[in-house]
Symmetry: C2
Subunit: 230 residues, 2 copies
């Protein structure tokens, strides 16, 4: 396998995908076209505009981009593709669309056969075992929360440390993930913005500029350094 | 109908339910026993301990509390009850339990027949049309997102204004609710902590100390004063 699952597409104050430039050149080595999956986007911009935004980054690394929404037969388009990128947005909407159009398992199979995959945010959530650790609002009801399971754990993207100054009784991110662990026995990797999961063959590491917080059932959460194997 | 749907159980720095004391005396007038529904609680404390916490507030207003989890026949317990309170926790877990045990419709019917109901946080979410505007993490998969529909709109509890100082690319609450409105044509009432919905007969008002932010499809969000009819 050859994948990147990133916490975010854009660092605060940065340009779209810019912080991942060197990594993406390696991920997509020898590839001249990528299929972009825009289905997480619930509004604001159209699938065409979202794809155009992706194109304007990818043309700087000499890769063409086609939006999956442009194809009549999306299963065929996935099977014919050379590589993939799934952008962020709402994970419920993304998972619902992928399941309803029978695309989740087709995408999984192609990636497991070695085609490069980049996911950002919602696009990273679907690389995990299921979407039960997304931060998104459940604006639609997917037929299942199961995802591709490209890695043997779940990701919590945009992981955010508690803010001790906030005078508010909503749950912190850490509380939410601990609630997940009362109902599920599955490791959760809290990826701070600027971090990503890299899988090459069977080797999985966490990369980027930040420490990563890992949550496991009946264990205290712990921090791991960039480069640590998972 | 005679209900309160509150944003939170506890104000920052306050005691459990304390800010609602005078309202609860009115809500439960003539009632000496309330059934407490603890099923939102995913861990941390047991259903018994959660019920004990509720009891220690309610005894100060001379009302006995029984936890619904204590009854073998929960449907019968709901039908025999005089009044209800559903506490906060995880809305996915609460909705899953209520649907799987066929309690959602029984509770709805009893409340529509006039029995007093208090919901806080997750317990307020289930008073709305569906749970698609919860802030909670989807730690379990409910058989449906539909809720009791005691009011003709959805609630977003613990509504939180954007923090302009946060250097983070996760979605704001307002962005999330606007995403909901791209997929659903249903009013969303963003209840800040310290606010609640009061329904007496057919009259629905928003109450408390804060302005309330209302979101509707194809409209700019707007603020309403305490006492405004909805």
């Amino acid at each position: 396998m050859n994948i990147i699952l990133a916490s975010t597409s854009t660092l605060f104050g940065g340009e779209y995908l810019e912080y991942l430039r060197e990594e993406l050149i390696k991920l997509y080595e020898g590839i001249d076209e990528v299929i972009f999956i825009p289905f997480a986007r619930p509004g604001g911009i159209s699938f065409d505009d979202y794809t155009a935004k992706v194109q304007s980054f990818f043309e700087t690394i000499n890769i063409k981009v086609k939006g999956l929404h442009e194809f009549e037969d999306k299963i065929e388009a996935l099977n014919n593709a050379k590589a993939y990128f799934t952008g962020g947005g709402n994970t419920f909407l993304l998972v619902k669309t992928l399941h309803e159009e029978n695309l989740m398992s087709v995408l999984k199979q192609n990636i497991e056969n070695g085609k490069p995959y980049l996911g950002c945010s919602a696009g990273s959530n679907i690389g995990g075992q299921n979407m039960k650790t997304t931060n998104d609002m459940p604006i639609v009801y997917p037929p299942s929360f199961n995802c591709m399971g490209l890695i043997p754990f779940n990701i919590n993207p945009h992981y955010l440390d508690p803010n001790p100054e906030l005078k508010h009784n909503g749950e912190t991110r850490e509380t939410r993930i601990k609630e997940f662990l009362t109902q599920n026995d599955l490791k959760v990797v809290g990826l701070r913005e600027g971090s990503w999961i890299r899988k090459v063959g069977d080797k999985i590491t966490v990369e980027g500029s930040e420490l990563t917080r890992v949550f496991e059932k009946d264990k205290e959460p712990y921090e791991i350094e960039p480069g640590t194997e998972l």
